[in-house]
């Protein structure tokens, strides 16, 4: 497997530098306590924030500090922790904003994506009238319209009910099976551990652990990062 998305010693104001790799066709998780820099790293990757130092690569091409529209055009789509939709546009119009064309084919594709996430029935409604969970699905759908190579999801399961969490997880699995690569920030550990091939743990802007979910689950450094105390048995002696 090759790294489709790679950050190399990225540093943004906080802590130390952050290096992580997301392999092509994988579902990678990024976890860490609040304020550990997960969303900031997303912002740096997608061009919403400039890295102080370090580099970001997509398929080996340097994309550090490229503007968000360019990052999207290059093949990275993202959703936000608090959903950001175009409230005064209809659901279908939201989809077409991200579309490269506005013709009938683009509309057809947009409707297909809405069908895929399960909100096609709402296509003519104003996006501002959707429930929070439906907004999450709309965000996922309009990121898919441009067929990005990598999709960054910022807390996709945050604030939604269990059935919808399962529905989102299922959609991610389907997309992943179709070849999409994911990097997911999430606090819902069950969601992350059940979905991701590899999990990276961030604390104060630094990667403290990285590996398969089974190993990360029992890594004492992860507990340290989350609980804020050193549980290393060696130090207890």
């Amino acid at each position: 497997m090759t790294a489709l998305l790679r950050t190399e010693e990225v540093h943004k104001a906080y802590g130390d530098s952050c290096t992580l790799e997301v392999e092509e066709g994988s579902v990678a998780g990024l976890i860490g306590p609040n304020g550990s820099g997960k969303t900031t790293l997303f912002n740096v990757i997608t061009g919403y924030a400039k890295a102080d130092t370090g580099e970001v690569y997509l398929a080996g091409q340097k994309i550090t500090n490229v503007t968000p529209d360019r990052v999207f055009a290059l093949g990275i789509g993202r959703t936000f922790q608090l959903t950001r939709i175009f409230a005064s546009l209809t659901v279908l119009e939201n989809m077409l904003v991200a579309s490269r064309r506005g013709n009938a084919a683009a509309r057809k594709r947009a409707m297909e994506q809405l069908e895929f996430v399960g909100i096609a029935g709402h296509h003519a409604e104003l996006a501002g009238t959707l429930s929070y969970g439906q907004r999450k699905l709309l965000e996922l759908a309009y990121v898919l319209v441009a067929d990005p190579a990598v999709i960054l999801l910022d807390e996709p399961a945050g604030g939604v009910n269990l059935s919808l969490v399962n529905h989102i997880a299922e959609r991610i699995r389907e997309l992943n099976a179709a070849g999409k690569t994911f990097l997911i920030v999430e606090h819902n550990m069950e969601f992350v551990m059940g979905l991701c091939d590899r999990v990276t743990v961030l604390d104060s802007g630094t990667v403290v652990a990285s590996g398969p979910p089974g190993i990360i689950r029992t890594d004492h450094r992860v507990l340290n990062a989350y609980l804020g105390e050193d549980l290393d048995p060696a130090e207890d002696e």
Binding site: D69, N161, L164
Partner: protein, 349 residues
């Protein structure tokens, strides 16, 4: 459902035809120059506020510098006619120049002003407006405080207003048609996306600066052209009339009264405010009365119809139509093979 849509379309088409007939017949029915003068000013403002709305209403960037293009268009026609010794109806050939001047000014203006976000943008447009007003006062080629006079048009006084009525009607129709096309196009969709969340739009591949600048230039082009027409109608332009701060406040008021970002809203706003303002100015010698009333009207709009007449009326009509019906239509009882999906319509709020 399809039948209802067809009926609505037929009704809209019929209303448009009736409106067109009424607009064409207006000077025939109301031949008084006093009345046609009101109509000409209303049409001038319909054209300009529609152009203003095409940028500010769609994108959410409120400009208080539209008079820069209006005044520059007026001055461009006057200065060019004087410099090239153009007289008579030949001056109408200079109207494309007025539009071009508006566009040319809008490019550097936009490149600077659109680098900042909404509130700061408003301040910059005001600053640029005053720079242009001061230039008009102080440059020799603008005629200083005396301004520039238009060449004499060899038209009979009895038909003078009628001709300008149809000219301004043409400008208003063109502006509205362009606005409708922009709103329906992907370009308009992207402008409206910028209004809702500019950063999100950028993250979905929208080159926001390019889109905003294109709309700003298009808006300025139409405004410059109409400024040229206004100058030929008024036969003169001076710094306080060409670059009038009340001009921009009136545009904002018209758009907010009718409905910012809609097509018909600013038109309705212009039809209400411009004749009213003109009437008060002519009727009462106290020149400030119309300004005081404008301010009061603005406050009333903000308090009672903050979204404007068109969106608020639309909302009332929707409520009337759906009264007694459930807020959320019932979900069809067809079985869903995916249990996860069945939770979608439910309480995810």
């Amino acid at each position: 459902m399809t039948g209802t849509v067809s009926r609505q379309r037929a009704a809209a088409g019929l209303a448009l035809v009736l409106l067109a007939v009424a607009a064409i017949m207006f000077p025939v029915v109301f031949s008084s120059p006093v009345i046609t003068n009101y109509a000409i000013y209303a049409l001038i403002f319909i054209a300009v506020v529609t152009a203003w709305n095409m940028f500010s209403g769609f994108s959410g960037y409120i400009s208080l510098g539209q008079a820069v293009f209006f005044g520059s268009g007026a001055y461009a026609v006057g200065i060019a006619a004087r410099a090239w010794h153009i007289t008579g109806v030949g001056v109408f050939a200079l109207l494309p120049l007025a539009a071009a001047v508006g566009a040319v000014i809008a490019v550097p203006f936009g490149l600077v002003a659109l680098r900042v976000r909404r509130h700061t943008f408003i301040v910059i447009t005001i600053a640029v407006f005053f720079i242009f007003q001061l230039m008009a006062y102080n440059f020799a080629f603008t005629g200083g405080s005396v301004g520039v006079a238009a060449p004499f048009l060899p038209w009979s006084p009895t038909t003078f207003n009628d001709r300008f009525y149809y000219l301004t009607l043409g400008c208003a129709v063109v502006a509205v048609v362009i606005a409708v096309l922009v709103r329906r196009a992907r370009f308009g969709l992207r402008l409206r996306a910028i209004r809702d969340d500019e950063d999100r739009a950028r993250g979905l591949g929208v080159r926001t600066m390019r889109v905003k600048l294109a709309a700003f230039v298009l808006s300025a082009t139409i405004t410059g052209l109409v400024g040229g027409v206004w100058f030929l109608y008024l036969t003169q332009v001076q710094p306080p009339s060409g670059f009038d701060p009340l001009f921009d406040l009136s545009l904002v008021l018209m758009a907010f009264l009718g409905g910012l970002g809609t097509i018909s809203g600013p038109i309705i706003g212009a039809l209400i405010i411009e004749p009213g303002q003109l009437y008060l100015t002519i009727k009462y010698t106290n020149g400030y009365l119309s300004e005081i009333l404008l301010g009061a009207l603005f406050l009333a709009i903000v308090i009672f119809v903050p979204r404007g007449i068109v969106p608020t009326t639309g909302e009332w009509l929707r409520r009337l139509r759906t009264r007694g019906r459930p807020a959320v239509p019932p979900v069809p009882a067809a079985p869903d093979p995916d249990p996860a999906r069945s939770g979608l319509s439910g309480g995810t709020t």
